[in-house]
């Protein structure tokens, strides 16, 4: 009996020894909170995680008719419109340049990769306090001063929305190096024979080779990079919170969904029902967006 439970060569035992801890961790920290959160979203859960007042879909109708929440989704859309193409273009350009280097390639690869190791909180502080502070001795305003214009209050001007410059550049600086490495790996997988054949066929080095050889060959890498960029943009919290929150809360602009839900459910608000409903809505949006994207890019289909 016991031997049957343990399986041939105790395989079942070893299966559970190896996967058990992970399954327990996933259950306790993943599935239980997930299900609990879904449950909470159907209750009036102010300042409690064990609510008793069932409200059906009231939290969902409330959060979906909450203009602050819907505008936070719009904020996310604008943010990813900026950050996804910008990071994609920058990291691809850097990768192409680093890949062509003969000298000090490892050095430049490390230099561009280093910002990835920097914390979002620290980088946000530097961006906010030294580079883009609003007074005349901030770095950006010093440079502007040489050219003539008056100092700009980067993070508090909404017309025009200068704060996007700060938010996008900090993330661009932090993450471009990581995607550079992904692109480098992709570039190195392109067989040299393709370039040789192209040269024989008379393709001009430069744009033509890039357009017809390099770029199509990078397709798998590009799809992965874009998917990762979009998901990361969805999860944006750190730099927004650290750049824009004050002791008195958060301004009504540049407020992505996670920041908004944080203030609803985990701040002094403690409206855990509404916060959970928002989280569920957000999870559904991410799921749908990812599936649509994957379909569109043909992810999982066999490479032709």
């Amino acid at each position: 009996m016991l031997s049957r439970l343990l399986g041939p060569q105790r395989r079942y035992l070893w299966f559970w020894v190896f996967t058990g801890p992970f399954v327990i961790g996933l259950t306790v920290f993943g599935y239980v909170p997930l299900l609990w959160s879904i449950t909470l979203s159907f209750f009036d859960a102010h300042n409690t995680v064990t609510p008793s007042h069932f409200v059906g879909f009231a939290n969902y109708t409330a959060i979906l008719s909450d203009s602050a929440f819907t505008s936070s989704l719009a904020t996310f859309a604008v943010f990813s419109l900026f950050i996804v193409p910008a990071t994609y273009a920058l990291s691809l350009a850097l990768a192409l340049m680093v890949n062509r280097l003969r000298l000090a390639r490892a050095f430049f690869r490390s230099v561009f990769f280093l910002p990835t190791a920097c914390s979002y909180v620290v980088a946000s502080m530097i961006w906010k306090l030294s580079i883009f502070n609003g007074v005349r001795f901030g770095l950006a305003n010093t440079v502007l001063g040489w050219l003539g214009p008056d100092p700009v209050a980067w993070l508090s001007t909404t017309r025009p929305p200068w704060y996007w410059v700060v938010i996008v550049t900090v993330r661009l600086w932090l993450q471009a190096g990581f995607y550079l490495v992904l692109f480098l790996a992709g570039l190195q997988r392109i067989p040299g024979t393709l370039y040789e054949a192209a040269a024989v066929d008379g393709a001009r080095p430069g744009w033509q080779v890039f357009r017809y050889i390099t770029f199509p060959q990078l397709r798998a890498t590009s799809v992965a990079v874009v998917l990762l960029l979009v998901i990361n943009a969805f999860q944006a919290f750190d730099e927004f919170y650290n750049l824009l929150s004050t002791a008195r809360g958060y301004p009504p602009y540049a407020r992505p969904p996670l920041v908004y839900l944080y203030y609803v459910a985990l701040g002094q608000g403690q409206d855990l029902g509404m916060g959970s409903a928002g989280a569920v809505v957000l999870a559904l949006v991410i799921a749908v967006a990812t599936v649509v994207q994957a379909r569109w890019f043909g992810l999982g289909r066999k490479e032709a």
């Binding site: 300042n47 306090l129 502070n133």
Partner: protein, 433 residues
């Protein structure tokens, strides 16, 4: 409302601490777990049940030693003090959901949802001997249906500071109305100095949160019978003037330290600044007698000067295993021991004692700008009403920010904020019963 933690803790430090916050909170919790089991850990030498007491981190040197000294002097329980850096209100909000939270804690509220959710206990019997001696402006928001849920510790206020020499040079009188303030800010703005600093968001946050312009317009956030108090044309008119101020280019924006820190004022980046009473010692040290204080000026015929006040209160968690012992301790420290209350309010930071009798006899609050500050706080002080929930707060600050910065239509923004606040007031009223 009152956040003495910002007194000498500018935004930078607070956020840096936030980064560390998780780790520190964890060590704190571990220390507490040990402390409450053994009764050791820098607490009291008394006998009886073990109590854990939480304070947020005050910036002023000596405060922590002082509260540990008070706790050690208590004989009826072994009290362990936890000094918690980081985002204190959120730490307590989360801890109150669990059994690992404090027995006695400082609370910016208690909020209406904490009271209705049964998270804090009734302290009416504990305060009743001295009820009349507590400043009513800060005691009232701790009171729900006649029962008191938090005992005010010290009062903080926010005021308008102005630099006398700069005003004299520009030939400007200290402003008594909002229109005069707008004109003064404009006149005081020069090449390297701005006229007024209301925070890096142009005042949308700090003025919006306290509802200060609404009070200055003669309105209120919530009326005495629990309805929206600012759905009125006067609100739109006054908030519109804040946009004029913002658009005039006379506000300082993007300063390295935000409004809660007097650095911009003492460094001469601005001629006037809105900041807290807590900044007064620093300003006096930097500028000597070259400054004065004013309330936020009134606006319109029904207008009146506004001075937002608030107080951290001592509250008892309903999840405490020793509720009675915790209540007795709170009564001992914050009602009976007036010597400790006086020491706490006046020896370290710069606060107004919550007890009227102590405030009256405090020598250092009797002369110069400090005396003016106390007088304005007493005459014009208004605290956030208990029924003013965080959601109402967000609705109003969002509206103020859109009006001030984006030039949005004030009347429409006020209407939309008022609608949210009405819904919130209905929600908390429904639970009454």
């Amino acid at each position: 409302m009152s956040e003495p933690q910002h007194s000498t803790f500018p935004a930078l430090t607070r956020r840096r601490l936030l980064g560390l916050g998780g780790g520190l909170a964890l060590t704190g919790a571990l220390a507490a777990a040990c402390g409450s089991n053994t009764g050791r850990g820098g607490g009291s030498s008394g006998s009886g049940p073990a109590l854990s007491q939480w304070y947020h981190q005050y910036g002023e040197a000596g405060t922590e030693q002082a509260v540990r000294r008070y706790a050690a002097a208590y004989r009826q329980a072994r009290v362990t003090v936890q000094w918690r850096p980081g985002d204190y209100d959120q730490q307590t909000a989360a801890a109150l959901l669990t059994d690992a939270g404090p027995d006695v804690f400082e609370d910016d509220g208690p909020t209406i949802d904490q009271i209705q959710g049964g998270q804090v206990v009734d302290l009416t019997d504990q305060i009743k001997d001295a009820h009349a001696d507590f400043n009513p402006a800060v005691l009232q928001p701790k009171t729900y249906q006649g029962r008191v849920y938090g005992i005010p510790q010290v009062i903080d206020a926010q005021l308008l500071y102005y630099r006398k020499s700069l005003l004299a040079k520009a030939g400007v009188q200290p402003p008594r109305t909002l229109d005069e303030l707008v004109a003064a800010a404009h006149a005081l703005t020069g090449k390297d100095t701005k006229g007024l600093f209301l925070g890096n968001d142009g005042g949308a946050g700090v003025l919006g949160q306290g509802g200060i312009p609404l009070v200055a317009a003669g309105l209120s956030l919530v009326t005495d019978d629990g309805r929206v108090g600012f759905d009125d044309p006067a609100a739109a008119r006054t908030l519109g003037k804040l946009h004029t101020l913002y658009a005039s280019g006379s506000l300082l924006l993007g300063a390295p330290a935000d409004w809660s820190n007097p650095a911009a004022f003492t460094q001469g980046l601005t001629a006037m600044q809105w900041t807290g009473l807590w900044a007064l010692p620093q300003i006096r040290e930097a500028l000597g007698d070259d400054f004065g204080v004013l309330p936020f000026p009134g606006d319109g015929s029904a207008g009146r000067p506004a001075v937002p006040v608030g107080a951290y209160a001592s509250a008892v968690s309903a999840r405490s295993r020793h509720v009675d012992a915790a209540k007795a301790y709170v009564k001992w420290l914050w009602v009976d021991r007036t010597d400790y209350q006086e020491d706490f309010a006046l020896s370290y930071g710069f606060h107004i004692p919550a007890r009227l009798s102590l405030a009256r006899k405090a020598a250092k609050l009797r002369s110069g700008a400090a005396a003016d500050a106390v007088r304005f706080s007493t005459d014009h002080g208004h605290a956030l009403p208990l029924l003013w929930t965080p959601k109402s707060q967000v609705a109003l600050t969002d509206a103020v920010s859109r009006i001030v910065k984006d030039g949005a239509d004030p009347a429409a923004q006020v209407r939309s904020a008022a609608a949210t606040v009405t819904a919130e007031l209905q929600r908390v009223r429904r639970k009454t019963g």
